[in-house]
């Protein structure tokens, strides 16, 4: 699978960066874009997240895997400011992020998507996209009243949005309501919209969930493309094949903790991962942590 694939230069670099790293939980990376220390989140008596240490290597595709209820989405929520942690701190590109509100994180280059896609259904696809652009002059009400002030910027944004839509193969839908898109198209739209913020770190929460196999392949390509353009990708996924296929590094969570780290091939040979994964899957509930 992976080995036979044509690998880009950036990808090779990214993989080489991990060559020296020991495959153990919480190991330090050479050039972390995200550095997490002692983050904890409790719900009542349950510890949803308890991460002692996690580095995400810059310019890599890192997968975050684990059984249902392992705390992956909760960790995402905490790291992106959507859920306040009970303890811990984390730095994004050297900047302390604890207590920074969610919207500020996005403007600083750390953007996320959601497990259940959040297309703004009654806005058109192109409006959805344009919303993503940061630092818009016309988003201040006093400028909004004078179209001349924001028209120039608006057309630049629209141009960029159209390019991204074309790249994500939904350009033909630009004037439709987002509510009319199919599930897979919504995933694409959400990813493209996140890119409008011009992020350095893209955090994708189950980008492949509910997407048909053909589209999965093209989503894979898009994610690789992000890395090749210099972005860092951290994504949550269930599908081990897909993880194998595109990730440079894999982080495994179980019961709120990181239990293993390593390259995809190292992880697939890791006994404790297989046990945590398969063991927990037997007691799988229908109730996935979504909030």
């Amino acid at each position: 699978m992976v080995d036979s694939k044509q690998v880009s230069e950036v990808a090779t670099q990214a993989r080489n960066a991990f060559a020296e790293i020991r495959p153990e939980p919480g190991v330090a990376k050479a050039d972390p874009i995200l550095h997490v220390v002692g983050v904890q989140r409790h719900f009542g008596g349950i510890t949803a997240v308890n991460v002692d240490h996690l580095d995400v290597q810059r310019g890599s595709i890192t997968a975050l895997i684990g059984p249902n209820g392992a705390g992956k989405t909760t960790l995402f929520n905490v790291l992106t400011g959507f859920d306040p942690p009970d303890a811990g701190e984390w730095q994004f590109d050297g900047v302390e992020m604890n207590r920074v509100s969610a919207h500020k994180m996005a403007t600083q280059g750390m953007v996320r998507t959601f497990q259940l896609t959040k297309s703004l259904t009654k806005l058109s696809v192109i409006e959805n996209m344009k919303l993503g652009a940061t630092d818009q002059i016309g988003e201040h009400w006093w400028n909004a009243l004078v179209p001349a002030r924001w028209n120039a910027q608006e057309s630049l944004i629209e141009q960029r949005a159209d390019e991204l839509l074309t790249r994500f193969t939904i350009g033909h839908m630009r004037n439709e309501y987002a509510g009319t898109l199919s599930g897979g198209q919504r995933k694409l739209l959400e990813m493209a919209r996140a890119l409008m913020t011009q992020p350095r770190l893209v955090m994708l929460d189950e980008p492949m969930a509910g997407v048909n196999p053909a589209l999965k392949q093209s989503l894979n390509e898009h994610i690789r493309g992000l890395r090749d353009e210099g972005m860092t990708v951290l994504f949550i996924e269930h599908d081990m094949d897909m993880v194998h296929d595109i990730s440079d590094w894999v982080v495994v969570m179980s019961e709120g903790q990181i239990i293993a780290e390593g390259t995809p091939s190292q992880i697939s040979e890791n006994a404790s991962v297989i046990e945590a994964y398969l063991g927990a899957h037997q007691g799988n509930t229908m109730y996935e942590e979504t909030h």
Binding site: H103, K118, K122
Partner: protein
């Protein structure tokens, strides 16, 4: 039955001052509820801010009535911060609960004996509009207009001011809504988390929307107060907000024309129903088989029953309004 009279009154109400001040308040509610999804159930309190802003100039400060505008704006901002700061981070219900409570409290405070010296108590204030009346270009007692739209000179003046404000405010709101600012607030209505993840400070946008809508309410209260020449606390009761909401939904949420046409239709229908019923029972209560169905003291209650019924049916069947596009609403279950 005097049909000519009923039709005349209906048409006059259609374009009347009541429709104009309802339209201003409805434009505000539309910004808040229709576009941003904020459920402000206390628009009456924002209207009271406008009316009492004017009233205070004569009752308390004894200064020119023009100062009423900055005073009212300050009151609106204070009220918006008071209700917005605790609730705008929470689910939509909390804003509704707090605004309805705040509106009720505002009414109690302005009509209280305790603050009578400032707000005039339950008698209200009626000494502030002389400067405004002096600006009237029409002969106050003369009749103007063509049938059925005939009004006296003073009403003509407030109509002119009221509808001009409606026009100006609508254009401003239209500009806001078609701008990137409008895009952000519409997106907040759809899904706050998505907007937050894209780097927008939704708390700030909601507050802006609340205040902008509040200013529209303020203008509405001013037009109403100037037309009546008095400020009465009981004109700003909780139900006024709900009638305006009904008028807005009648015209259609989230469309600029809806918040103008809705109030016109609301008042047209209301006055028609009121006049019709009153004429019906004018001489004797309506009886069917010896049972009194309706008598003249009950006409008001019947009218408002119909308003309530209208709101139920419109909101559950046609939130897009009478002329709205069903498809847009079908995209989700809001």
């Amino acid at each position: 039955m005097d049909w000519i009279r009923i039709i005349e009154n209906t048409f006059r109400a259609f374009a009347g001052v009541d429709a104009a001040y309802f339209a201003l308040a409805a434009i505000g509610l539309n910004v808040q509820f229709g576009y941003t999804g904020l459920l402000n159930f206390g628009q009456a309190a924002f209207m009271a801010c406008g009316a009492y802003g004017l009233g205070l100039t004569s009752q308390y400060f004894d200064i020119s009535f023009w100062w009423g505008i900055p005073i009212a704006m300050a009151l609106v901002i204070i009220l918006a911060l008071l209700v917005g700061i605790p609730t705008l981070r929470l689910r939509a219900d909390y804003l509704a609960i707090v605004t309805i409570a705040a509106a009720e409290l505002v009414r109690l405070v302005v009509r209280s004996v305790k603050f009578k010296r400032i707000f005039g108590g339950s008698d209200g204030i009626n000494t502030f509009s002389n400067e405004f009346r002096a600006l009237n270009p029409f002969q106050p007692s003369a009749q103007y207009g063509i049938w059925p739209f005939r009004y006296n000179g003073y009403t003509m003046f407030t109509l002119l001011v009221g509808w001009s404000l409606v026009a100006v405010v609508s254009v401003l709101v239209w500009l806001l809504i078609r701008s990137p600012w409008g895009r952000v607030v519409k997106a907040i209505r759809e899904d706050e988390d998505a907007v937050r993840s894209l780097g927008k400070n939704i708390y700030s946008y909601k507050m802006q929307s609340l205040i902008i809508g509040g200013f529209c309410g303020m203008l509405s209260g001013m037009v109403f107060a100037l037309d009546r020449g008095s400020v009465q606390p009981d004109n700003y009761s909780r139900d006024v907000t709900f009638y305006i909401l009904t008028a807005l939904v009648l015209g259609g949420l989230a469309r600029v024309m809806g918040s103008i046409v809705g109030p016109m239709m609301f008042w047209g229908l209301y006055v028609f129903s009121d006049n019709f019923l009153r004429q019906l029972v004018q001489s004797a209560p309506l009886r069917i088989g010896g049972v009194t169905i309706i008598q003249s003291t009950q006409v008001g209650a019947v009218n408002y029953m119909l308003v309530g019924l209208g709101l139920i049916i419109l909101m559950s069947k046609r939130p897009q309004g009478v002329f709205g596009n069903r498809n847009e609403m079908a995209l989700d279950g809001r």
